[in-house]
Symmetry: C2
Subunit: 311 residues, 2 copies
């Protein structure tokens, strides 16, 4: 039995996470993590697994050994949709600067993902809560079309796709229930200078709900019923911010599946849980801290965050 948070009297719904699984080499001002487990599908599914049964769809190469597969299995993640193909696993190498808000890509090898098209079984197509990580918006749209029964769908995006396929992505956001985006990407996508204005404009452009991730400045939730502002957790030992956004997204979709509700009230609480989970992810390279953190650490940070917003 996988350790999860217990947030409702009923059994949690299931989460489907579609997104890259990768090897990352990460250079920070003080340390280096070489070929560590990464990718948005990996981080999102790990985070979601703390809240709900989670299914992962992705594609890895022959270099992705069982020792990595087993880490997913230990978290109770259904890896039947994580296919292994001929070739090498997606690889990203990047470096963070002194202030950790800036990074540069040193190497990016799509490898096996060059011809990736997610294939979903009938069971997977019927998953009620779906996370689609940042991939080519055309692939995102294909995945959305394959899904049955009107699931609750969230998508994430990175600036590369906004710059190269803005028009296609603006079609994607109309088809989903929630858009994850960071503040600078939101400004680019909405063509606005202020993230507060950008978040509201993205709703006018067709996104039902927007969750804007602002790193150490917290998160904003733009919803038809209003705007909600969440603080960031006061992390004292930031080690590697890679995957924070994906862990955030995975935790939020996991929370929604756990309570099986998607109203404004629950989205707010989900954002606070997601902030707690993301804060754990960045305290070590790769999965290292979040994988072993346990539900209690998440609950404690959730409580701390609530206190930071209470009079």
């Amino acid at each position: 039995m996988v350790d999860r948070l217990h947030l409702a009297d009923h059994e949690p719904s299931a989460v489907l996470a579609i997104g890259p699984v990768a090897f990352d080499t990460i250079i920070t001002p003080t340390q280096e993590g070489e070929r560590v487990l990464g990718g948005s599908g990996a981080f999102a599914s790990l985070a979601a697994s703390y809240f709900a049964p989670t299914r992962l769809v992705g594609l890895v190469g022959e270099d992705f050994g069982d020792e990595y597969i087993n880490r997913f299995v230990k978290r109770g993640i259904d890896v039947s949709g994580l296919k292994k193909g001929k070739g090498k696993t997606f690889y990203w190498k990047g470096r963070y600067f002194e202030d950790f808000n800036k990074r540069e890509t040193l190497q990016l090898d799509l490898n096996i993902l060059e011809n990736f098209t997610p294939e979903l079984t009938e069971e997977f197509k019927n998953t009620p809560y779906v996370f689609i990580g940042s991939v080519d918006p055309d692939l995102q749209m294909n995945a959305i079309r394959e899904l049955a029964d009107e699931p609750f769908i969230v998508v994430d995006i990175i600036d590369h796709w906004i710059k190269t396929k803005r028009k296609e992505f603006l079609e994607v956001i109309k088809q989903v229930d929630l858009l994850f985006i960071n503040d600078s990407e939101a400004c680019v996508l909405a063509q606005e200078g202020s993230s507060m204005i950008a978040g509201q404009k993205l709703r006018e452009l067709g996104a039902k709900t927007v969750v804007m991730k602002k790193g150490e400045h917290g998160a904003l939730l733009f919803h038809e019923e209003g705007i909600f502002a969440a603080p960031s957790y006061p992390v004292m030992n930031l080690k590697d911010p890679t995957g924070a956004g994906d862990a955030f997204a995975g935790a939020l979709i996991g929370y929604l599946a756990a309570v099986n509700k998607t109203d404004f009230f629950n989205l707010k609480h989900g954002v606070i849980y997601a902030t707690a989970v993301a804060s754990l992810a960045i305290e070590d390279f790769s999965w290292n801290r979040l994988e072993s953190a346990g539900p209690k650490a998440i609950e404690e940070r959730y409580e701390t965050l609530l206190k930071m917003m209470t009079f």
Copy 2:
């Protein structure tokens, strides 16, 4: 009778604002304001006047006509400490870039402020709530020493003084009750890369309480009882951010004087009121919007901000 917010059953205490009064020429990407009323003392006293009787101490030149003095008088601000001397008023000319978070100083003429030493009457020395704007830390320390009866003192600072007189300013923060600082300046003063860590370190360095202003990312309050995070108000028509931090500081000290309490609970509410006031200040050049906004607009924004933090 000046229109004020009514926040307590008793009469409000008084506020003393010590800080430059200036003429600013401000160039934004779309507009220009030429030789408009500015300076930290001006913005702080205007903001404080919405909450409590306010006394201003400053020095202006012969070019500071009665039409400007009258704007203070109309807000009920005691200008008996605003001296007029031989020479010209402090002048600053600056330009904002597209994203409004970056600006450059194009011209800075200290003029009459070159030999400014605030002089306080006995009555002024006994004001229970004191704001000291960003001036040379040696001047700040002199002003603190002149004050009687242990008032509640807040100071503000800008990066110029942190870079040139860090050691002196670290002595100042030990003598005051509350330090206002923006996030990038806090990182420089604390010599930390993360503003969340910087805020906590400034308390270790001797600041009792720190209010960190983060512009469109809201504000953080670091207090011995914990950390409080306030969102920013969703301003849709940002015109000129000049003076936002000073208006914020003036509103907070004004709020504390109005309720005559300085505990964590009231500091939190004061930060929310200060956020509301600062959001009005930036919707036009100079005093223009805040001067005419009225208490009702402040209350409405305060309520909106509370909703943004409520589940």
